[in-house]
Amino acid sequence: MFTTLFRITKAGCLNFWRNRWLSSVAYIIMTLAIFGITSLLLVNVLIGSLTANLEDKIDVSVYFNLDVPEEEILKARSDLVRLAEVRSVEYVSTENALKEFKEKHKDNVVLMQSLEELDSNPLEASLNIKAQQASQYETIVSFFDQGNYNEIIDKINYMENKAVIARLASITRGIRQIGFIVLLVLAVLAVLVTFNTIRLTIYSARREIKVMKLVGADNWFVRGPFIVEGVIYGLIAAVITLFVMYPLLWYLSPKITAYLPGTDLFYFFQKNIISLFLLQIGIGVFLGAISSYVAIRRYLTA
């Protein structure tokens, strides 16, 4: 068993070396495939952080009547936090609201003067709510339909922004879905091209396969070295991809960040380099081994 395994592995390595021209075509194609799949994955990460940025800009503010005591608002806040859809709730007291208002409009003299005319603070306390996903605001807002909230709430700006939020939610969902579909389609293409390349290398060896069978080799003894070769293609392709991708991202990432602030692909790549590399090896080895296994089947009959 061990001897056979050793012989198969040795034969696979020897074949790889002796057919190095054909082998190099196979692993270069595979490098392109793995490079493509990894790039698409990174683009999806980019889309993810972009949509997250976009979603972060959406929030809903609930304004409470001026006479509502602070404890009641804080109680509503702690109830809200318990909802699964809620990501964060920020309490803005009347004083803070006034401070923010003054800060925002400090250059507007008329507004400032008219504010000073008033003897009390006209701004209401509010809760700024952010949802986990843009599509969940409807559910969160419906929370305020229950109990006595109707009496203490002045307005919810969701009603005003409903159309915009819905639009944003559908856009972010759309981007995510399209990104995923593109990833899937291109990944399938990459897999098919790799499979065909390996099929060609096996096709070129079909005569030898027949001879091996006539000499009394069983299927695993014939198939094994080809699978080993496929695995070597995968390993080499994964290593090349990593060595090409590292400097490329180091160079491109700051440029991407300049266009799309809040994204840092190189950081993501560095942080996940081991799992990405393992993923690349996994894709390569799996693709190589399965392609060889499937491609050789038709030549193994009798």
Partner: protein, 227 residues
Amino acid sequence: MIEFKQVSKIYSPNCQALDGINLVISENEFVSIAGRSGAGKSTLIKLFIREELPSHGRIFWKGQDICQIKDNHLPIWRRRIGMIFQDFRLLNEKTAYENIAFAMEVSGREEDEVERDTSQLLKLVGLLDRAEHFPSQLSGGEKQRIAIARALAHRPEVLVADEPTGNLDLLHTWEIVKLLIKINELGTTVILSTHDREIINGLDKRVVTLEKGRIIKDDEKGKYILF
């Protein structure tokens, strides 16, 4: 030992390669299958090595119907016969040594045994100095000798040779034939298919002559007959 019983092979309605073949070959016999191209010699051999199945009839070896052998048992069956072909069928990506060793490796023989036997076989066919050469670096005669060495690697009970000298010049042809005679004398049954009159006349052994898929002559000490 080997028995063909009413064996026919029909590739298509107007292409019948073999027609009702009855043939018995005993142990340690040297049998030449003679006939023109297209007479059915190669088909007969393909059926025996189970590269193809007969359309009708059965083939027995030591009482076992070889048509009943399951696909996953074929490798074991093939290790009991040695084969050589007109086009050598060596593995081009392997050296002469590796080609012979491969035949032993497939049956899981130990490494030191493989090394010892391969060297002995190379010596037997006189090509020990060519061990590290690839088939593309060998002459036709040398390739066929390597193929014979490989065929003997399993220590087969039968050696089947399908036009083994078809691609060789006269000198190399006799080298190969002498080698086959020697192998037969060492106790292996040899089935030689050929259309070469010189070989058949020089052998003075049993000759089975095929014509249009039928056996038309079977002589203990045959000569080549002009059809």
